[in-house]
């Protein structure tokens, strides 16, 4: 099992509004720490036009990390492919793979937040069609790069898994699925892959919220406000307030979503976390990208969690 660390969104959150120059300097320091702790890779994510400055250019940040480190893998978890020109992504990945000596991986997915599509003049409803059109040429560009760039397709549903299955591309499974849902999604993937006559990929990747602690009480008090911020943000993007819905009713809906998603968080001591991760490895996920950064955690807290998780990676 390979362990990745993430997911770095580079957010200057209201509760800790660091300047982005500091956030990116911290990112490069965190990457060096991840490399020294023996992590397989570090992972970035992407959103556009959000008030906290969520990273809109994950490949640029990946370039900086590749320059700072020498062994660590760097990946996107995930790039919102329908918003990008495929040729641009292919070129950037090719260049970074050569200059980073084969350490770049790409995870790509649909995206969902309407103002992001609209900012680029794209209809959100076209995102599936765009994905179908963009994935094959990008897969070709990734395969032709020297060294080749591993390309994973981010999925949160069985329908999305079927799209990846038809192309025989490995999955990057979202953190919100439980083991039963993951099994169902993998079955849909395999059925689509087999009927398209594609061979099984060597591995799939899984994204998971994971926080290793030696003091659950102390760390929960630090972690929960950041987790809550992150979940409310993603919740508000996935299901916006509906017409006529009161703010209080909407907040209740967001809180219920936080409760539901918390069920998938792996929070505990190193040996307990290791046992949980092995369950997911057994499902077919050889690469597990652990999200220990939520919002913008205090540095010392994030580093403690990385060191704890790193003891399982190294």
């Amino acid at each position: 099992m390979r362990l990745g660390i993430g997911i770095f969104g580079m957010q200057s959150v209201p509760q800790r509004p660091d300047h982005h120059a500091k956030l990116y300097r911290d990112l490069l320091d965190d990457a060096e720490l991840a490399e020294s702790l023996g992590f397989d890779s570090i992972w970035l994510s992407e959103h556009h036009f959000w008030f906290d400055g969520y990273c809109p250019a994950d490949l640029v940040a990946a370039g900086a990390i590749l320059g700072r480190t020498s062994k660590l893998g760097v990946g996107t978890a995930v790039m919102l492919l329908p918003m990008h020109p495929a040729q641009k992504v292919g070129k950037e990945a090719t260049t970074l793979s050569r200059l980073g000596e084969g350490r770049l991986s790409l995870g790509v997915a649909l995206g969902y937040r309407e103002p992001e599509f609209d900012g680029f003049g794209i209809r959100r409803k076209d995102r599936g069609k765009l994905m179908d059109a963009l994935l094959p040429p990008l897969a070709d560009a990734c395969a032709a790069a020297e060294p080749a760039v591993p390309l994973y397709v981010g999925v949160a549903t069985a329908v999305a898994a079927q799209r990846a299955g038809r192309l025989g591309l490995p999955l990057f499974a979202d953190s919100t699925m439980n083991p039963a849902e993951l099994r169902e999604m993998l079955a849909a993937y395999d059925a689509a892959r087999e009927s398209a006559g594609m061979p099984a990929p060597a591995t799939h990747a899984l994204q998971r919220d994971v926080f290793v602690t030696d003091d659950p009480e102390r760390d929960w008090a630090m972690l929960f406000p950041e987790l809550r911020y992150m979940r409310r943000q993603y919740g508000s993007w996935s299901f916006p307030q509906s017409n006529g819905e009161s703010v209080s009713a909407y907040r209740e809906r967001l809180e219920a979503d936080i409760e539901a998603k918390l069920k998938n968080l792996i929070f505990g001591r190193p040996e307990d976390v290791a046992a949980r991760l092995r369950e997911f490895e057994a499902l077919g996920f050889e690469l597990i990208v652990c999200r220990s950064q939520f919002g913008n955690l205090p540095r010392a807290g994030l580093h403690r969690a990385m060191e704890g998780l790193g003891s399982l990676a190294g």
């Binding site: 250019a57 640029v60 900086a64 320059g67 609209d118 794209i122």
Partner: protein, 220 residues
């Protein structure tokens, strides 16, 4: 007067050669290491910036991709190197009015404006009928670290406040460059292709370009 190295071609350069050239540029007191090529130059500049303490430049095509992508890439590249980025825009083969709109929107976005653009070719935000209600304006976030990232456009005079930038061959002499600049501030980007060439060009050019009374015996 300023001295740059490049543009180094990211389409073909090996990481080992790129590293050696960038280090030689720093040793020879170049102000900036420039990268060029058919794409991926901003990601490469972000990478090279981690190898050198000096500035980095990227030659980037403008007019094909959405200018907001370009603005986002520039902002993050500038932040990852703590404000050391420079950009040379190379106009794509598009209609003149398309190019002008791309340049306008890019400039507005980089300035941090709360943007609303209704042009002939671009509308930002697009506010497409098929999309749900979206805000009337959008802003680039994060913004670059520098209040104004130096941005030149190939084939056009330098923007106000920036020196004229000229690409020159490796074997150029300081006298030729100074004649080219006249009495104006010049920024010369020298296309040296080996570390030895880089060091030689730096030794030959850096002193005379920086000081009008540079003593000739120093380089004898």
């Amino acid at each position: 007067m300023r001295l740059g190295l490049g543009p180094l071609d990211v389409d073909s350069v090996s990481p080992r050669d790129l590293h050696a050239l960038a280090e030689a540029a720093v040793e020879a007191s170049f102000d900036c290491v420039w990268v060029g090529g058919t794409g991926g130059t901003l990601v490469a500049a972000a990478l090279v910036a981690q190898w050198v303490p000096v500035r980095v430049g990227a030659v980037v095509e403008v007019g094909t991709y959405h200018p907001l992508h370009l603005a986002e890439d520039i902002a993050v590249a500038d932040l990852t190197c703590s404000g050391r980025l420079e950009v040379m825009l190379r106009p794509a083969d598009v209609d003149a009015d398309v190019l002008e709109e791309h340049l306008e929107v890019l400039g507005l976005a980089l300035s941090g404006a709360h943007l609303q653009w209704n042009g002939k070719h671009l509308r930002v935000p697009a506010r497409l009928a098929d999309n749900g209600p979206v805000p009337e304006r959008l802003a680039l976030n994060p913004r670059p670290m520098q209040p104004a990232v130096p941005v030149w456009v190939l084939g056009r005079p330098a923007p106000r406040g920036l020196p004229e930038l000229m690409f020159s061959p490796a074997d150029v002499t300081s006298a030729e460059l100074l004649t080219g600049a006249g009495n104006h501030a010049g920024y010369f980007v020298v296309d040296a292709s080996t570390p030895d060439e880089v060091r030689a060009a730096g030794r030959r050019l850096a002193g005379p370009l920086r000081m009008p009374d540079f003593p000739a015996w120093v380089n004898e």
